[in-house]
């Protein structure tokens, strides 16, 4: 009986059968099938929005599918809860660090599984010896007694990996595990993956970097628009073939029309050798009035840091960031005063006062031209209404809390704030994250209308379609350095992706 189960389990570590999942207004996955053998590294590929994250969430029990089933080691995942998935041996290595910095390495490794001795007491010595055995088994050169704070980000990630597999794991899901690792650290990670493979643990590996896939993966599944468009044996394929599968060349990407701009565009903001170590190397860049400049790059490429330099959220460690008048941008207060609007990526935490009224969110901060010391409610309401109208926010009563608005309208409240402040430059970090598709295009249109009025718009985005649709000029970053500039009308998702991951263009790229 037991042996039968074992052979049954040995056939497939993970089976995803005809899984579909929809969110309101969005079809995230459609009829996706996927199977991973024990000891196999299976890469999950696709551009942002292809359905990778949703699939991972279903496999790890964070979401339940609308249709289809998931089997781990032959046993159905039921109910769809992280707990059930854990019981079946599914472990997750998240993108973000989940380390308790004040505990030792050993305690972090055994965090959810502390060995208990007699009387239910925890013995430090047994923790350390067990954790050390675990680290050695994986071939990690780490001291279990060291405090977790002394570790580099990569080592912390390896500790998390050790935690993930400290109990028998049948499947480890790795979501962009190399996003914050240096090259030599990536090597260590790959060695650990090799060890896992030899012990029969399957790995579901998500990465943006194709060369990693070719180095470590046995098989790969390519998703596009929520559908499986290919299952490949990595040894028998090429990068070109994968990229072709990832991006559908037959669908012309949408590009919004723009009004003609004056030929001579003046510089609104210029960076000279501005850098923000360790993520961003010195950058020389000009942003001109009346253009949409897109910053494109993977999460670790330094695009957000560059946006923060431009907005004065951080001061450059060297070099300079200057606005049109010639004054330096170094502190956020001053930058806001000199007309640089900033729309942060974390809208709810950093963009808005969620509990406060919409009016207060609009008139917040230093408003050039509205720098009145006295805030008479009726006058504030009038000013806010005007700004909201200009910002295209449809709201019946602006005295409501801003949290009652939809994501798209919330984002436009932040934009309206900077319109009221008469900003000359608007820096937006992931402006349409969490915004539904119709509202997204309304925001694009609004930004284009604003550039027609002479505003300079900088957009950081990880959504290739967004960039192609919106940008006049795309600057691509890789490993903290600018590696290319593409005119907006020549940008395709495929080309941007190839630049991002440093893949040699093969002539198959359409201009």
């Amino acid at each position: 009986m037991r042996a039968q189960q074992a052979t049954g389990a040995a056939r497939w570590a993970l089976q995803v059968e005809r899984v579909s999942k929809s969110f309101p207004g969005v079809r995230a996955l459609h009829d996706v099938t996927l199977a991973v053998r024990p000891g196999e590294v299976h890469a999950l590929l696709g551009e942002n929005g292809a359905g990778k994250s949703t699939l991972i969430k279903i496999v790890t029990g964070a979401e339940r599918p609308d249709a289809g089933s998931v089997l781990v080691g032959g046993a159905p995942l039921h109910p769809y809860s992280p707990r059930a998935a854990q019981r079946l041996g599914v472990r997750v290595l998240h993108q973000e660090r989940q380390i308790a910095p004040d505990l030792s390495v050993a305690q972090n490794v055994l965090l959810d599984n502390l060995p208990r001795g007699r009387l239910g007491l925890v013995s430090q010595r047994s923790i350390v010896s067990r954790a050390q055995a675990e680290l050695d088994r994986l071939g990690l050169d780490l001291d279990a007694r060291a405090p977790a704070t002394s570790l580099s980000p990569a080592e912390q990630q390896l500790v998390e990996l050790a935690r993930a597999v400290s109990r028998q794991a049948s499947l480890v899901v790795m979501d962009e595990p190399t996003a914050s690792l240096r090259r030599d650290e990536v090597r260590t990670l790959f060695e650990v993956i090799g060890n896992l493979r030899s012990t029969g643990t399957a790995v579901l590996y998500i990465s943006h970097h194709l060369h990693e896939v070719f180095e470590i993966a046995d098989t790969a599944t390519v998703l596009r628009n929520g559908e499986r468009v290919g299952e490949l044996v990595v040894a028998e394929t090429t990068q070109e073939e994968i990229v072709t599968l990832m991006f559908d060349r037959d669908v012309a990407h949408t590009r919004l029309p723009r009004r003609p701009r004056p030929a001579e565009q003046t510089v609104a903001l210029s960076l000279r050798g501005a850098c923000a170590p360790p993520r961003l190397q010195p950058v020389d860049l000009d942003v001109r009035h009346g253009e949409v400049l897109a910053l494109c790059g993977t999460a670790d490429s330094g695009t957000s840091e560059l946006a923060e330099l431009m907005a004065g959220v951080r001061a450059p460690a060297a070099g300079s960031v200057t606005v049109a008048g010639g004054s330096a941008v170094g502190r956020r207060t001053r930058a806001a005063g000199s007309g640089i609007g900033f729309v942060p990526a974390d809208r709810k935490g950093s963009g808005l006062l969620l509990e406060r009224a919409i009016t207060e969110n609009v008139v917040l901060g230093r408003l050039r031209g509205h720098a009145r010391w006295w805030h008479w409610p009726a006058a504030v309401l009038r000013t806010a209404r005007r700004a909201l109208r200009r910002g295209g926010v449809r709201v019946d009563d602006p005295r409501r809390a801003v949290s009652t608005l939809s994501g798209g309208n919330q984002q436009r409240v932040v934009i309206a704030r900077w319109l009221l402040a008469d900003s000359g430059v608007l820096v937006l970090d992931q402006p349409t994250a969490g915004v539904d598709i119709a509202a997204k295009f309304e925001i694009y249109q609004q930004l284009l209308d604003l550039t027609a009025e002479g505003l300079a718009v900088v957009v950081v985005s990880s959504d290739y379609e967004e960039i192609c649709c919106l940008a006049d000029r795309v600057v691509v970053l890789r490993d903290g350095a600018v590696v290319g500039e593409v005119p907006g009308d020549g940008a395709t998702p495929e080309r941007l992706y190839q630049l991002e991951i440093n893949m040699q263009s093969t002539g198959g790229v359409r201009a």
Partner: protein
């Protein structure tokens, strides 16, 4: 141009997006809420408490609802009220100052010894207020630049000033025989008792500052979401420093008033005052997590405190019961508010009510439940 966008949007809508979380239904599910309703939710019960207590005391002793008794009540809570007004700014801005009570003692004692040493009244007032500014600067700079938690920092200050007051006075009240400052405690201004006038004027001026100026709105912004305020261009550090300076200066002024009302510099006069101050501020609807509160609420909280004390005196209840009653009211008020928040925001069904009551206790301690994702609050006026 517009047609095209809509069309594109429609085609694009067919595209799945996995990176985006689904549109949150909570945004619409949450019941309509407005700052006005929140305000009413804290103010109505306080007014009710004051009215009921006053009417009851008056039925027992008709001298309660008289002008002179009310002036007396206001005079007695003058120091508390000034401190609470300053603390309201701090708490709304997400800060706190526990050192105010012992600063009151210290300033009182210091002023008494200086007057005793023959300094002119003006000099003493200027020196004391300057000292208040200096203390505020110290707290403000430390909190703003070193990011020391103000709770711990000012707890240290509490001990230091309490001890300094004892050292300077040699552990004895120092009588103030005469001088210009007597006017503050016992004068008659415009036909009213001076401390009552001072309290009302302070509250009105600070209320205007808090609710009708850019400075005041920035304080709310700082307390609700410091990061968002900073990114919007609010000078958050300068604002933090200003808040502490404002508060400590008010505490120094309160110390002078306390001294003149006692006609002595008593090293123990401010003992425990900081806790009463925070109690009435929270009673008045300020959230310790920051971002919520009002000057009217605080003033009503102070009044509740004053009316309870006066009522207990009128009803000849021993003074030892006073803290029991005020403490009980505080616990009741915050629990009821927390339950109302939970019910309005998260647990709208009957099955959740029992759980709501349990979690309310934790909510009282942390006051974070209400700020959570902005849907922890809502119209709960019906429940009060």
């Amino acid at each position: 141009m517009n047609d095209l966008t809509i069309e594109e949007a429609a085609t694009a809508a067919a595209r799945p997006t996995d990176r985006r979380p689904p549109p949150t239904p909570t945004a619409r599910a949450v019941r309509r809420q407005s700052p006005t309703q929140n305000f009413a939710r804290t103010v109505v019960p306080l007014v009710a408490a004051i009215v009921v207590l006053s009417l009851y005391s008056n039925s027992q002793n008709p001298a309660f609802l008289t002008s002179s008794n009310w002036q007396n009540i206001l005079s007695q809570v003058c120091v508390l009220g000034i401190l609470a007004a300053g603390q309201t700014f701090l708490i709304i801005g997400g800060q706190m100052d526990l050192s105010v009570g012992s600063l009151v003692s210290f300033i009182g004692v210091l002023a008494a010894t200086r007057l005793d040493a023959g300094w002119s009244t003006t000099t003493v007032v200027v020196v004391c207020l300057a000292l208040g500014v200096a203390v505020g600067l110290l707290w403000g700079l430390t909190v703003a630049f070193l990011r020391v938690p103000p709770f711990v920092l000012t707890l240290g200050g509490l001990s230091v000033f309490a001890s300094l007051a004892l050292v300077i006075s040699d552990n004895r009240p120092i009588p103030v025989l005469d001088g210009g400052l007597t006017e503050l405690g016992f004068g008659q201004w415009f036909g009213f008792r001076a401390p009552a006038v001072i309290l009302v004027v302070t509250v009105v001026v600070l209320g205007l500052l808090l609710h009708f100026t850019r400075f005041g709105r920035n304080v709310f912004a700082l307390g609700s979401a410091p990061r968002a305020a900073y990114l919007a261009g609010v000078p958050t550090r300068r604002l933090t420093i200003t808040l502490f300076v404002l508060n400590s200066t008010l505490a120094a002024a309160a110390g002078l008033i306390m001294m003149s009302r006692l006609a002595a510099g008593d090293p123990r006069s401010g003992e425990g005052l900081e806790l009463s101050v925070i109690a009435v501020t929270v009673l008045g609807g300020a959230a310790l997590a920051g971002g919520r509160g009002s000057m009217v609420g605080t003033f009503l909280g102070v009044l509740v405190f004053g009316v309870i004390n006066a009522s207990l005196t009128f009803l000849q209840v021993p003074g030892a019961y006073q803290s029991l009653v005020t403490g009980g009211i505080l616990i009741f008020a915050v629990t009821v508010t927390a339950v109302a928040d939970l019910r309005a925001g998260r647990v709208a069904t009957t099955q959740g009510r029992a759980a709501a009551f349990g979690t309310a206790v934790a909510g009282v301690v942390l006051r974070r439940g209400r700020g959570d994702a902005g849907n922890g609050e809502g119209s709960g006026a019906s429940s009060l």
